[in-house]
Subunit: 607 residues, 3 copies
């Protein structure tokens, strides 16, 4: 009977221990809350594959996967304060209109499509080309539509649709009559109008402000539209939550969440969130047929496997947007016409802004806060165009920059992006660190070796990343990148609108900016050694480094022939990259002769 | 004896479980810290009655109640990052000078009074009208004061006051002599001067910056002065604490805190916080009589039930402030004269700024940082004036906006406010969401039905709110409001200086800004149905919707007669609302004839 | 056998209790996370001695000690959101180049030295005076260096250095030849160039942006260079961590951390963090000799006791920096020449910016974001010069201000600083509070009495602080300071670029800005008493108060004779303060005659 008393002691001891632990834990928690980057540094950084993101919208029409800082084991996102997402939209599919609590910085990885962004209070400057301003177009539209009675994939629905065709007719006629009256009274009825629709294609960078609704339509019959993005949940524009929250306007989508992801479940459109009687009064429609119809169809859609993305039965939607004036349909997605806009940004973009009503004014927007100017803000920019490079080194690669100085929308959200392409195995992106921002890389093609060094000089990452992976390089952490394949191409999202990079080697680098004797003293070497260190890579301005002269492969052999294992990663971009490729190859050959003294060309960044 | 060993296991198991739970809890905590809005969404949103706020200053002169984000069960405030307060000042009472760690956005719900705001480094531009610049006024003042020897409620104190009248006389005489000397030496002595005093009245919006001292005097003999405010504790101006902290300049007040509120206790003025000897040296006064006097009186005041608000025995204080030149004393509080100022804001306000010394310069402020310009910043604006409405729909209601474009002070604090009045049962504020801000409503009159929808389409609130209730609508959450009484009037505080609202229905709404086929596809309906959806409420610009044509009550009967249950809520505002009321009734009748085609008038918002 | 069942109950009870406690703790934690200032107020504020800071870099060359908000028991730093540091650099020692995740606001407490700040993308405008533009200087340099073969303290290393002298020669020659070729090709080779080097001396304020590398060289043979700084870890520029993180460029340093400090350990330079083969390719150097050399020397340095600070064997480094044109070497550190610059800031500073290449352009910086303008931003300013005072009261003291209006760099980081010198025992800094910022004082000389009052009127600190102590005065907390020695001098760091101070007494103070009757009512006193309160210290503009006329020591006796106990604290500043001292004494005597009517002179602050 000695045991029970001893167990009482044990129990008390346990309570005591737990109590004490509670205290200690408390202190720990207080400090732990702001040191995600510190924990990250201790645990090491790892590349992330979007297919492993814990939250997923998946349906016939496509997939959206994302990871939020609030998700478990997302220390890197917690450190950077951003959510990452990848969206794949299948051919002839629509990504439902949605908005979010935080701004997106979006990059089109592959494919092409139409993007609509709705900014509150801005005018509906796009009009259906079939509609004329004086506008008996609705009749015409209606006739056309009888020929193609529905626009989405659900053939089983055909009868049910016609079964209430009749009951609407009365309503229809009254509306028609009223419309005529209005027209007679001089109130011009508008056609199928909408806010600006943008064509986006591979290599485009898009800024979407928090709370702005957007939709994406992959009108390409054969190619997926793939996008990656960061969602800056720690942005000033987001006052709601550190999670990434998606608000659908209408419809339903099911969010699957793995353990540790955000709580999943069905998300319904905000319109469906209101009760039908309230909506009916708000819309001022006589009966609730449409609303009941929407309700029924939305749940049917879900049963048919439609989710965030809707597979369109008919194929292309009839969306008003500027089309190319010449050329074949099949090449529309890589048309140089849209490219041109970039070069004459200032006036071209503005011109395109109001194609049908040039002097369009905001027609009585409710709150009067949206300024006219912000309605024509450029939200899209091509980031990967070769002729727009900011830094270019023949035989090594190029960098295209997008920052607040180039694109005012980036000033608004305080984000920036780089596109970097190393065009040759062994080419490097110089050891450097970003002074004022985190850098989130996404590898779009090829692969490379990366080393990241933290504040204590520990190598928190050293390894290879390959196409389709995200990697965070925290603020101030030094990193070096080196192409291990014939191509290594990535886009980097930065969490400041005017990021500053400090290079560790090369011309105008950190080492070169310090007196020689200071370098000597801190490195523990003699002055002439310091001089050698400082004098290295003198020919290189900017971060793109040519493969070193001592590189292990022979200089004379054309590098494009030597690495057959890289071909698989480059072949899929053959069609789009042909031009650049040829150029690169030509360069490589040219360079073989002038290897000892490469010619560098640098375009000033603040164009 | 088998039990003890098994219990040992049980104990170990328990420890293990607790340990594991501790870990899990830890992870939970890390993520929990930034998801107040998420928790709010899961638990639902509820209106808040200020009388239930956990922290309360209560005394003879009035009441101040507030709730801070740090208080228990204030998930909504935690989400919005603001504290809410309501202050009631009884007739002839003074709210003691105080300052706070965060900016206030204050709305005068009822009554009228004087408001003094002290901005560091700004000139004392107000002077007692009894004082002349050459100023033998202090003598005059003193004589007047002998006739009314004290200004506050404590008749028992009369003797004690005179008992030290004599001992001061010496000191007094020396001071008087010195003053005379100074005057002879050309140093002009100032009268009773102070910084700008503003008259505030029902419907006024006031911005008070963090750290600026303010006091309120209800000089109305018969009516309470009632204010509501948000205190933006997550503002940049606040580096101190997420709590709402009140610093009294002098005096004492007792904070009662219910369980879960901030820790209560007696708050003393910062002047009382210093030791008497230090204060004596700082003031450079010969003896500590005044200081001891203050000390004694302050504690006596408390015993007499004076707290944050002081009941003034004599009634009106003699405060220098601009008065109306004509009219009776009794109507001074709703005088149209002050209203006029709004219309000619630019020059009128400026003119009023320096009534006695027009070219007044800051006289040697200590730190030289306060700019001259910021001293004349407009901090008050009438928000509810009918003739200043930004959106007006006859027979439905109106909206008055105050944002950074109208009132630069709102730019400084990054806050805004709306005043909305639905003037008819069934009138609606369109389904909409605010893109970049939280919206905190306070219902000033009547009642209405509100639905709020979150990111998953869940109705997180659906119910009626009535006069005197606060309700949070988080950023991006869609909401619709509908008058269920003959009047539904509220003021909404927004947590961004330039809030953007997106409407879901009506002209220029979100649905209208998308191509028809996109709407059709996402709602699962046919194109002509989408057209009907898009075409609804075409006549409505802005968020004010007239009661729908299908509304259940007869159009021909004048609506003001049909709802006797609303009278109680409207009667108390009879006196002040007479004008508007009549107007509204006239409208209702006029509207009965033109119901099918309401005429809308919208004033541009960015006046 | 009754015990075991009861123990089961006990166990369940325990679990229950723990569970409940867990819940309560959880709530507590949620609120605790943002109330460091509140906890601070409850526990009281204490001065901090830098020698007790828990984190320490210590080596032959000097010491750096700091405390971070994340450290245990640093509630005050947690409240203010800044780290504090003190650095002592011994004569002829170098503080290694390093950068940090947050901006520094640095004050030179004693001594003099050279400071190099490297801003990304800015030109290397400083050139070795021995080098000529056409530049056979490297040869010359090299010859000079043969005469002094190493620049740091490690005589044992001499042989090992020469042992690889030969193997480098080849490499050397090829380089030399290449250089010649380059010169022949018209590519002008630069001398020993570096970015701007600034001389800093006692009383200088320096702003260092986050991520900007800086180094300090104490080139004074006899005096320590002592600096104190705040590191604003809650600054916008810091996205990384609430800890203060130090990134060395090269070399090694050991961080000692007391219990509760940051985790210590060896910090290595980021250059050492990369693997040698990667670095070799990045530098494009033929062999890894230098790299291996650096590696070996860095670890040897550590064994020799070199750390963050390197003791230089040879003494002075040969660093290009502007020198005085006349005068002796020994007085160079207090040369008035550098002082002059302050008076003609606008053009003098700019002129100095580009001594060798006036029209220097940024030569192809990589990212193009650094603007030309920001490269010439003034980062240093003398804060303690008597002739630059913003507020000066004879016989009391003076205040020098540095804020965003004077120094744009302070606008960038949102910080400011004050220098205050009370020149007489009993002189006071008026009771006041800062409206929008925390104030972190560091006492540079003498001692004084301080009282701090919180929002509830509690005296959270009341005591004496002395030379070498930090003290936090949180935002809105009222404080009064009084010299208890013949001198009381401090520098105050403020956490806003445009801090606003509100004085409680004196001319233009808070009390004077309120109507007399409001003051009377809130203090519980009669109008004439209020008048007396308001009328006190009428002669005083600004926060510097002369010792009160009632002060306990005789006015006629020269104060400099009466306090022998202060001599020890003032003697050490004898050499530098001689001039001021004499001036002060003269004043004191002059003042003895005019005590009743002191003349005050105030310079406007926004120069």
């Amino acid at each position: 009977m000695a045991a029970p008393p001893s167990m009482l002691w044990l129990l008390l001891l346990a309570l005591l221990v737990l109590g004490v632990r509670g205290e200690a834990e408390r202190e720990a928690l207080i400090s732990e809350r702001r040191d995600a980057c510190n924990r990250l540094s201790n645990r090491g950084i790892h590349p992330r594959d979007p297919s492993q993101f814990p939250n997923r919208f998946r349906s016939h029409g496509g997939t959206l996967q994302y990871a939020s800082p609030a998700d478990a084991n997302m220390t890197d996102l917690d450190c950077a304060g951003v959510a990452l997402l990848r969206e794949i939209i299948r051919p002839y599919s629509l990504s439902r209109p949605r908005y979010s609590n935080a701004p997106h910085l979006l990059y089109v990885e592959r494919g092409s499509g139409l993007l609509g962004i709705v900014t509150p209070g801005c005018p509906t400057t796009f009009r259906n080309p079939f509609a004329t301003p004086s506008c008996p177009h609705r009749e015409e539209d209606r006739r056309r539509r009888r020929r193609r009675p529905y626009d989405y994939e659900s053939e089983s629905e055909r009868e049910s649709e016609y079964e209430y065709e009749e009951e609407e007719e009365d309503e229809h006629e009254t509306r028609q009559r009223r419309q005529q009256q209005e027209q007679e009274q001089g109130q011009e009825k508008e056609g199928d109008t909408c806010q600006k629709v943008r064509r986006v294609k591979e290599g485009d960078l898009v800024v979407i402000f928090a709370g702005n609704t957007f939709w994406l339509d992959n009108d390409n019959p054969s190619q997926e539209l793939r996008l990656v993005a960061i969602v800056d949940v720690s942005n000033n524009q987001n006052q709601l939550d550190r999670r990434y929250k998606t608000f659908l306007v209408s419809g339903e989508a099911r969010l699957e969440s793995e353990e540790g992801g955000e709580e999943g479940g069905v998300s319904r459109g905000v319109l469906q969130g209101f009760s039908n009687d309230v909506l009916q009064r708000a819309l001022d429609i006589g009966n609730t047929t449409i609303l009941r119809h929407i309700e029924r169809r939305v749940s049917q859609q879900r049963q048919q496997g439609q989710g965030l993305h809707i597979r369109l039965h008919r194929g292309q939607l009839d969306i008003p947007h500027p089309r190319q004036r010449r050329g074949e349909e099949s090449q529309q997605y890589y048309e140089p016409e849209y490219e041109e806009e970039e070069e004459e940004d200032e006036y071209k973009e503005e011109e395109e802004e109001y194609p049908c009503e040039r002097r369009g004014r905001r027609r009585g927007s409710g709150n009067g806060v949206a300024e006219e100017g912000s309605c024509s803000m450029r939200l899209r920019q091509s980031l990967n165009r070769a002729d727009n490079a900011d830094i270019y080194v023949r035989g090594a690669g190029r960098v295209n920059l997008a920052n607040a100085l180039k694109m005012p929308a980036l000033q608004v959200v305080g984000l920036a992006a780089d596109y970097v392409k190393l065009e040759r195995r062994g080419a490097m992106f110089a050891p450097s660190f970003v002074v004022n921002a985190h850098r989130i890389m996404y590898v779009t093609r090829g692969r490379g070796r990366i080393q990241i060094v933290d504040d204590k000089g520990r190598r928190v990452f050293s390894g290879e990343v390959r196409q389709g992976q995200f990697l965070l390089i925290p603020q101030n952490f030094a990193a070096v990148k080196e192409a291990t394949a014939q191509i290594f191409e990535w886009v980097a999202f930065l969490t400041d609108g005017r990021p500053l990079r400090e290079q560790l080697v090369g011309r105008n680098s950190l080492i070169q900016s310090m007196p020689r004797q200071v370098v000597a003293a801190t490195c523990g070497i003699r002055g002439n050694e310091a001089e050698q260190l400082i004098g290295s890579r003198q020919q290189t301005v900017g971060p793109i480094l040519t493969p070193p002269s001592s590189y292990y492969y022979s200089r004379s052999s054309s590098s494009s022939r030597t690495y057959p294992e890289d071909l698989d990663s480059t072949t899929e971009s053959q069609t789009t990259e042909t031009e650049t490729k040829t150029e690169a190859e030509t360069e490589t050959e040219a360079e073989a002769q002038t290897e000892t003294q490469p010619v560098t060309a640098v375009l000033t960044a603040s164009a």
